[in-house]
Symmetry: C2
Amino acid sequence: MSARRPPLVGRYTLEELALAARNRGMPLEALRDDVTPSGLHYLLVHFDIPPVDAASWRLRIGGRVQRALELGLEELQRLPARTQRVTLECAGNGRAQVSPRYPSVPWIEEGVSTAEWTGVPLAALLERAGLAAGAGELVFRGLDRGFDRGVEHEFARSLTVAESMREGVLLAYAMNGAPLPPQHGAPLRLVVPRWYGMASVKWLHAIEAIEGSFDGLQQASSYHFRTTPGEKLAPCTLMRVNSLMTPPGIPDFYSRRRTVQAGRVVIAGRAWSGAGAIARVELGDNGTWLPAQVEPAAHGFAWQKWHAVWDAAPGAHELACRATDERGECQPLAPPWDLSGFGNNAVQRVHVLVVE
Amino acid sequence: MSARRPPLVGRYTLEELALAARNRGMPLEALRDDVTPSGLHYLLVHFDIPPVDAASWRLRIGGRVQRALELGLEELQRLPARTQRVTLECAGNGRAQVSPRYPSVPWIEEGVSTAEWTGVPLAALLERAGLAAGAGELVFRGLDRGFDRGVEHEFARSLTVAESMREGVLLAYAMNGAPLPPQHGAPLRLVVPRWYGMASVKWLHAIEAIEGSFDGLQQASSYHFRTTPGEKLAPCTLMRVNSLMTPPGIPDFYSRRRTVQAGRVVIAGRAWSGAGAIARVELGDNGTWLPAQVEPAAHGFAWQKWHAVWDAAPGAHELACRATDERGECQPLAPPWDLSGFGNNAVQRVHVLVVE
């Protein structure tokens, strides 16, 4: 099982392009919004968006529980709800900048967004079901089905009981105050704050308490760091410290290179880390780093805004931004090597021509 | 002005990938919906999504008019409104399948969608302003600004007075029953039914009546058919006859190849033509064409649903679909040659493995 696809270098294949065209990144000018406007949130659909009839849909909670539960959407919506702002990032964000690269969704840097999610805390439902002795993990099963590396499966992921009970882990039925759209997992999805997005299973239809560890492809094989094909290092879990800026000035249509008028320019962006708050952001200008102002973490699970005033002098500039989190983890200048292109949190670089 | 970029063959460049990642196609499973769900409508933003303050925004109508007008959003929303279903398609849809290809947004086939637009008929506003003698075209100016082929400009397009007064040409402030989202032109955009999408100017801030023909880059240089660089043939106007199917069965994550269980399978999709209603759709199975059922055109400006029952026999199949409109125009089997990749309405091909 899980034969890996051969690595790629240089230009992008038709398969990569097709994945980029049907999935989508967040245009970086949307970094100006605290909450990514509806329809601009990044999107990764492994298989197809499944057709789901919300009226007949049920969430089944079973396995090693004291009371198996089956709930419809209206029943879930009658339970005490919580709304929270969460930044999600794809574990493969930045993959297109790693060389050689793994043939998959070729994110450049735009696989991150923030939404307001409304739903039922998972812990409340698990308490209602009552975990039975021996329950070690919860498996979350989606309705999306297909093949990956020769294996047919529905997308499914697990969390340990402790991770599942964490504050903020939500079964969400609304996004930005509107019913969850089909592409984001309607009628119900998991939202796991601080973790890379693969944990936040969409089109959720079953939660199963199991003994031991879940051996599904998307858990046991995919989403692990690897430096060589035979290896399996740590799983992808918390988002690494990362940051982005809104590219300043105006773009060229094809190259996206920027043109900026000389003078004082406010450069602004967002920074985030699954491990905690952001301690520091620096703005790089042709290799010189200047301190940026970072707004406090008002929402525990969401990115933080930062800005710096840049004195733009005529000529060619490579701007960059670099965040450090409260644990002292700092973004690297070059992509960290990973065979599958996971966890690339190297600094963003924006090419700008400053004109008088 | 307007030096063209050199043509490309083979794999896709980082610039093409970046355009595919920040713009987005409609995942083809959304063909099951009469109206494309919000957030799944295809999107092409030439420059950046401009930040617009709806409270201070004004639409200015001037030039060769009897009464220059300036209207805020609330004033527009108090005028008699119309809601209509419109299919829009990018003029460059299918560009990635033309070889050699023009370096631009590399649509494969997914640059088409349908929405319900609400707004004010353009004709009503033009009657209020009163066109002055000599007015030949209306120029529609957007707030999005950048460079293309070395020329800085705001995105702007024109229509003749006769085209502007056509039934269905709308100044839209709502999409699918919600306020127009930023990426689709908030607070106001033009919607020109039956035409390729470039005519439907987003982030509209000015309408100017002019004598003669508008000479802006996006009108006089871009969006013309060409077979050689020195040539300028007809402008892109009405959408050519085209059709798509929802790929059946389940996909492989990377290759998107489909696996289908043998037996009777309903294949369904949509067909459209700017020139009028769809007369006929055929489903191709390894080169044999079978008639499909086409639903009547209930909405004059929207795609029509079609379906065919396919007896899926085990083995490899190349499915295709081909529409003919009421004028007798039929989709070609291979992409029509165009230097810029405009107007590619060649039949879609879907590779399917049928298993017992």
